[in-house]
Symmetry: C2
Subunit: 137 residues, 2 copies
Amino acid sequence: MRLSSLADYAVVMMSAAARHCGGVARLNATSLAEETGLPLPTVQKLVSRLSAAGLIESARGTGGGFRLSRPAAAISLADIVEAIEGPIGMTSCVDGGRHDCCIEENCRVKPHWNAVNGAVKGALAGVSLASLSGVPA
Amino acid sequence: MRLSSLADYAVVMMSAAARHCGGVARLNATSLAEETGLPLPTVQKLVSRLSAAGLIESARGTGGGFRLSRPAAAISLADIVEAIEGPIGMTSCVDGGRHDCCIEENCRVKPHWNAVNGAVKGALAGVSLASLSGVPA
DNA sequence: GCACAATCGGAACGAATCAATCCGATTGGA
DNA sequence: TCCAATCGGATTGATTCGTTCCGATTGTGC
């Protein structure tokens, strides 16, 4: 019931990127690590995950860096959390997923978890980077 | 962003207890383990946690067992999760708690986490054992 | 009053996941 | 063509979680 530190750091990092990224400016991992105070390797790992998820676009080579692939208003906390921790689900018995529960047939709690998952996901999807960093658009 | 297996098992166990416990009947850990299919030691550990949290009342000695200390309608998922995993909070920077975040001064995301935490907690508090097990009262 | 049996409660072990770190592959510029 | 700076993946260590086992407590039956 507590998201991992990586996801927390990712949210902070994306918020800082949204504040600084003035449209086309690219940020590198080093400057962002210095600004946020996070360790550099951690920032690198987060950048890898986020770029693999498609939230940011990275450019290699000298003077490279990364920038947001979408506007800040179109990125929500749910996107970031799913990019770092995988699909949002409080239990293993989500519909369409794996079935590792050995008491699935006698489990009458399962249908109710979907509603709870939807509520949690909606709570995270309702907050965007724009509302976090104060950017109007 | 995924609650532990213990909490999941605890919810299942409490649901089964709510179905069987007809007011004053006491359940023992062995029968409940046989019915739910969970390992006996796990059930014992869950009973320990839940009794320490005050959700169930345990009785030692021959013919002992445990029963719900409150009506099924007065016990929510939030109570069970908090009994097993501690306070519900997605991050370490909850108001009134510990301050382990080294970038707290530059963190502008912090005020928004409280709203998210409240939404999640409300989603869990809105579901009671009565709605899970189908007991009318 | 005593012994027995069944139970809860806490402590110890092993496994899995997570977080942090390091090195190699790729790419743009000079 | 060479160099330098960067991203990407792989490795190591630590923390936490899950499971299991053993001792303390208590009520019953004789």
